[in-house]
Amino acid sequence: MAETEKIEVRDITRIERIGAHSHIRGLGLDDVLEARAVSQGMVGQKDARRAAGVVVQMVREGKIAGRCILLAGEPSTGKTAIAVGMAQALGTETPFTSMSGSEIYSLEMSKTEALSQALRKSIGVRIKEETEIIEGEVVEIQIERPATGTGQKVGKVTLKTTEMETNYDLGNKIIECFMKEKIQAGDVITIDKASGKVNKLGRSFTRARDYDATGAQTRFVQCPEGELQKRKEVVHTVTLHEIDVINSRTHGFLALFSGDTGEIKQEVREQINNKVLEWREEGKAEINPGVLFIDEVHMLDIECFSFLNRALESDMAPVVVMATNRGITRIRGTNYRSPHGIPIDLLDRMIIIRTVPYTEKEVKEILKIRCEEEDCIMHPDALTILTRIATDTSLRYAIQLITTANLVCRRRKATEVNTEDVKKVYSLFLDENRSSKILKEYQDDYMFSEITENEEDGTAAAAACGAKRRVETGDGDAQPMDH
């Protein structure tokens, strides 16, 4: 076993990074779908959350296909947060695909293909199968390899439960599995008889005192009872997209791992739809429709919208949730203006949930939650100042200040962030308002300032939209027309 010891890797404690929405654990609703004021990381936005709760209920029942929900509201009013909350509330069993509107633009794949893949990723299929598994504690394991180093390995393993003991001969393939999982005497394992998959459940309690040094990850389990061989019903959950990829003849299942799926033929999809319906009738499979969430939906263009119109009519379509922060703006790929940048015919198929700006009290709650999430202890006065900053500038900027203020505070070897720390980072880092003010003041000193004079019309129009919106609408107008 010398060579396997060499490549042994130490257990690394998993590093969890804190993302923008990692504090959200659900929608914060009670049993009757009423929104609690502060719960599961969600604050305020009661009407929107209640509406989202109804949508979650609709998805859970799984009867309705191809509904479309639009989350509309100003920037940083918690649209994505509500979507993340919905995903959490639905649980890991229900597929929830999250994508951004701009993800569909790829040179390798057409826009509609990317969209239909995303739609099919959001439909899960639960496949039930009965398999025979062997579950027991390893009493003894012997693996003999020929002296030449290559050739057939011979393996024997003795497994036991509280009641019985049996010897098994091991095939070549399963020996590899045993070596990979580093199975040794005292481990409790399961073996799937059909696939030969070996799974280590933990170490037996009776062996708990064999070693004085066991890793923190070592789990101790009871020795299984009864017979070694058991019949168990296992449930695999796969998405329609995964079945598509495995069955698209040109690539095979390897494409699933390389990610290079390419375009999947429509015929393949139809065949799979029929097959899945057949399985469902026979009771072998259950369809588990999920949610497709498209953020920044105004980035989709007119072709995508008309494709969605049709795709949503299929009875295999998931519930689609979209989010946008645009008001009346140009539909990408046309010269027409429309509410939210979405054509009216698609808007007509949607139900719209509006998010409203947070009140000062709610902002304070959110900042408090974020402080907890980032393990930052903040003095109440500092929190008040931060709330003030958040209402004056933006919530995102204030959240950024939590991290930076915490670092400043640690530099002076204190544990609690006070007002001084917040003031310091406020002066160190500019928010968007102050930055643009400085830009306006010193515009002439920056490079290429003479060019902007030629395009004065454009900047003047943009300036009218207010400082906060300016950057974004600027983006929107600069969209290329060729898509």
């Binding site: 036991k160 019985m164 098994y168 095939g171 070549n172 399963i174 059909a194």
Partner: protein
């Protein structure tokens, strides 16, 4: 305490029958997709082998599961190995076959077989070398099974008794007797009357199934017994 359900179930099946040697083989195809094959001894009218095939699973071919009679274990191995060797590009079967299984019980592992005689149901567990005092064979009415335990914790088995289930009688401790000889534990269960009655009814049912040979006189002798 009735076997009517089972009879109805058999009745609903599409049945085929053939005779080979002194055996009558019957294949049942049930409307729920399951299949059952039986082999009757023509001399005694006792079923010698019975196997089930469940409806097709999603992955892999369905396997015959033997409920009763010898399992052709050795034959199965070589057959499985041959197919594997063929799949491996027609390589030399002898060299490939040795490592092509994933996992199997070693040759010395206890092996359970069941057989039915006129009066008894018998289970033989081969490769059990411990003396008779080690075993504890009990009838579990709740699990509808016979449970074999060993005091040295080397062997444990829950043996379901589908025959008794079919006429909905629980297994009774009083009907069990055990015997140990030649490394083999023999468990004998005396058939209750209702089970004998059911088997006679099934034979009557099979009488109507067409075969090349006439079953009448054979059955006449059996019913007279």
């Amino acid at each position: 305490m009735s076997y009517q359900n089972w009879l109805n179930y058999l009745q609903s099946a599409e049945k085929n029958s053939m005779i080979s040697g002194r055996l009558r083989k019957v294949l049942y195809k049930f409307p729920d997709g399951r299949q059952m094959a039986e082999e009757y001894n023509m001399d005694t009218g006792v079923v010698q082998r019975r196997a089930w095939r469940k409806c097709k699973q999603l992955m892999g071919e369905p396997q015959w599961e033997i409920e009763l009679g010898e399992e052709p274990r050795q034959l199965n191995w070589s057959a499985a190995n041959k197919t594997n060797a063929a799949a491996g590009g027609g390589g030399d079967a002898d060299t490939l076959s040795a490592g092509e299984f994933t996992l199997r019980e070693s040759n010395s592992a206890p092996l359970l077989t069941k057989r039915v005689t006129k009066k008894n149901i018998e289970w033989r567990i081969r490769n059990l070398s411990y003396p008779l005092s080690v075993y504890n064979v009990s009838a579990d009415a709740e699990k509808r099974a016979i449970i074999v335990r060993t005091s040295n914790k080397k062997y444990f088995k829950v043996i379901p008794v589908p025959d008794l289930d079919r006429c909905s009688v629980p297994p009774l401790q009083a009907n069990i007797s055990t015997h140990h000889q030649f490394n083999t534990l023999i468990i004998t269960y005396t058939k209750p009357d209702i089970l004998c009655e059911m088997e006679a009814q099934v034979l009557l049912l099979l009488k109507n199934v067409e075969t090349e040979t006439d079953m009448d006189d054979l059955l006449k002798g059996l019913m007279a017994k």
